[in-house]
């Protein structure tokens, strides 16, 4: 069943792609194939693959429970927030929070998560900014 739903989604995407391909402008420098042909071929391949998936679905995978789903959504939310916060709060602070959260969700106790978060954030900061010379996000506090 999951395969069928996914196949349906892919089919929709493939059709969307075919429509988007027709939007591509032609340029005055033209080679015999043009910018539209290959994308169209690939979109057709995708559509065929989608139809095969719908017709012959594999067995259903084990989807997580509602609680797990919420946990995963929360994790993705934290990662998104992390990405947004990086330029604002700087590397070390954002990373402490994000890492702490991830450690906690992966099974560490709250105390271990805080310790882990701080250690990992500072460790990565030290290694990458100072030893390797990379440029990590700079926050208002200079780190």
């Amino acid at each position: 069943m999951s395969d069928r739903i996914f196949g349906g989604t892919v089919l929709a995407v493939a059709l969307l792609m075919m429509w988007a391909t027709t939007l591509i402008e032609e340029s005055f420098i033209q080679d015999p194939l043009g910018p539209k042909a290959f994308p169209m071929v690939i979109a057709v391949v995708m559509a065929i693959a989608a139809v095969v998936m719908i017709i012959k679905p594999d067995a259903n995978p084990e989807w997580p429970t509602l609680r797990k789903n919420l946990e995963l959504v929360a994790t993705v939310g934290v990662l998104v927030a992390y990405a947004q916060l990086l330029p604002i709060a700087g590397f070390v602070v954002s990373t402490i929070f994000a890492t702490g959260f991830l450690c906690w969700r992966l099974g560490a106790s709250p105390r271990q998560s805080v310790q882990g978060g701080v250690l990992i954030a500072i460790g990565i900061y030290g290694l990458f900014q100072h030893v390797l010379g990379l440029n990590l996000a700079r926050g208002p506090w200079g780190f």
Binding site: S2, D3, F6, M17, A20, T21, I24, E25, E26, S27, I29, D31, P32, L33, P35, F38, P39, I42, A43, V45, M46, I48, A49, M53, D58, P61, W63, P64, K68, E71, L72, T75, V76, L79, Y82, A83, Q84, L86, F91, T95, T99, L102, C103, R105, L106, G107, A108, S113, G116, G117, I120, A121, I124, F128, L132, G133, L134, N135, L136, A137
Partner: protein
């Protein structure tokens, strides 16, 4: 002989302090990355690429570092396969089957050392194969015109689902998705924007690192979060006692033929585009089982079952470098990532690489020989060090992996948009793993899409729109035929061997080699 002279020159290039240090660091990191479940050679290399770029390394040292990581990961993968029954990366999957039983019988040390020596033999044979085969392939490569290159790419995609893939429609979808992602951006040939929907961020296309790091590293974190608390997650008591680290000579003698056979098979598997180290280890194991016949007790701790796949995957890693360097077509998922890095450094692998940058190629090959010895030293006597690292709980390890992925990307582009795209790929990667959709074709599509289309259009420009050029030369026809066979074969092979059951016996491996 010309080749040996060039190799000697390569040693001169490789034996600088910087390159030796980079090789050592690469070997160490590679072994570590391979050993840790959740990190494989392709995501390890992918995470390191932004770091390498930001450090401003030149092409030769950068390549030495990353290929040492690649080789190292082939050694490291066996450590958690043997001690935890969790493959460190997909190529190490077969090592679980006999390695873990051996460990349960108290022979962990022997398993680790036999597999370490087998890895050395495999890599050594493959590196010599690289020395002799690559220049030959270069001569053949000059026969390749755009139509033949296009056929070669079709072959790479067709065989990518791999012999182990059970659902070709999913592999085809993954390849199509990867290629579609490659189309986003301004078309190279005509200058028109495609699939950009007016969003300025898309004009440059999608950086290949985003799907790689997102789909391999981030999705792993999500899988870990999902798996936590499940009965079969990584909470079985790890085997702490390693026992003897040096194997008895009799075992070495018994496994020597397995190592030889595994190396040759693995090398051939690696050279084939699209098939990588996983196929190398798989083929080596299954054929070794057949070759040994009744005398073997595979699956219950037969040392040959450990030696063959380990020799196979290391040999395949070396073999995969052959088409990458000689033809510019990647031999495996990780070499695809390496290829992208080379192109980003303005080095075009291919026939001209050997003439234009002999320093790079032969320096790399010499560094691989040196690295191999370093890896043998790191992996046989010092294996205890790595097995101790495996005891770091995953709740510290995986967040660190996730954070390194983020900063790697951010350090390169300083773009929050890119981070969001990477997260999106992470979610997509998790969904793909659930649905058993292979992720390697997606990555290959993103990396090779532009090249593939360019060759197709060039071929048609040469023939003025005549499609028959695509199957005009015998070489192109041959390649397309192998592609068709490679695509259709798994459907028949899967009737004989139940790969799904095999994979379910270890862990989920829709990752790359």
């Amino acid at each position: 002989m010309d080749t040996l002279q060039a190799l000697g020159h390569g040693f001169a290039v490789a034996l600088t302090w910087q390159n030796l240090l980079l090789a050592l660091v690469g070997c160490f990191l590679g072994t570590l990355i391979g050993a840790l479940p959740g990190l494989g050679p392709s995501n390890g290399v992918a995470i390191l690429i932004p770091v390498v770029f930001s450090m401003g390394l030149a092409a030769t040292p950068a390549l030495i570092l990353l290929v040492s990581v690649y080789y190292g990961a082939m050694y490291g993968g066996r450590i958690s396969s043997i001690l935890l029954n969790i493959p460190g990366d997909e190529p190490a999957m077969m090592t679980c089957l006999d390695g873990y039983p051996m460990a349960r019988q108290g022979k962990a040390g022997e398993a680790l050392s036999i597999s370490g020596i087998a890895s050395f033999v495999g890599a050594f044979v493959a590196t010599w194969g690289l020395v002799f085969l690559a220049p030959q392939l270069v001569d053949v490569a000059l026969l390749f015109g755009p139509a033949e290159y296009f056929a070669m790419f079709v072959l790479a995609f067709a065989t990518l689902g791999g012999v182990t893939s059970s659902n070709q429609a999913k592999a085809a979808f993954a390849a199509a998705l990867g290629l579609s992602l490659a189309f986003i951006g301004v078309d190279g040939q005509t200058g028109v924007p495609r699939f950009t929907f007016g969003n300025v961020h898309f004009y440059d296309g999608i950086d290949f690192l985003l799907p790689i790091v997102g789909m391999f590293a981030l999705s792993e974190v999500l899988v870990f979060i999902e798996e936590r608390g499940k009965a079969h997650s990584h909470t079985t008591a790890p085997i702490t006692e390693i026992g003897k680290v040096v194997p008895p000579v009799s075992m070495l003698k018994d496994t020597a033929p397995s190592m030889a056979r595994g190396s040759i098979l693995g090398f051939i598997a690696g050279v084939l585009p699209g098939a990588g180290a996983s196929l190398g280890s798989f083929m080596a194991y299954t054929l070794e089982k057949k070759a040994v016949g009744k005398k073997g007790f595979f699956g219950k701790g037969d040392p040959r079952g450990v030696a063959a796949p380990e020799a196979g995957n290391n040999a395949a890693a070396g073999g995969a470098l052959v088409p990458m360097l000689a033809l510019g077509v990647p031999g495996s998922g990780t070499t695809a990532v390496l290829l992208a890095m080379l192109m980003a450094l303005n080095i075009t692998p291919g026939p001209l690489l050997f003439t234009n940058s002999p320093d790079l190629v032969w320096g790399l090959i010499a560094a691989l020989f040196i690295g191999n010895f370093m890896l043998l030293a790191l992996n046989v006597p010092m294996v205890g060090l790595f097995s101790r690292v495996l005891r770091i709980p995953s709740y510290y390890l995986m967040p660190a992996v996730a954070m390194i992925s983020f900063i790697g990307i951010y350090a390169l582009t300083n773009s929050t948009f890119d981070l969001m795209v990477m997260i999106a790929f992470g979610v997509l990667g998790w969904v793909f793993r659930k649905l058993s959709i292979p992720m390697v074709p997606v990555i290959l599509g993103v990396l090779l899409g532009e090249l593939m289309e360019k060759n197709l259009r060039r071929a048609l420009t040469i023939s003025d729109g005549d499609l028959s050029i695509l199957y005009g030369s015998p070489l192109a026809v041959g390649l397309l035929l192998v592609a068709v066979i490679g695509f259709v074969a798994p459907i028949f092979v899967s009737r004989y061997v139940n790969f799904k059951k095999l994979k379910a016996e270890t862990t989920d491996p829709t990752t790359a080699a």
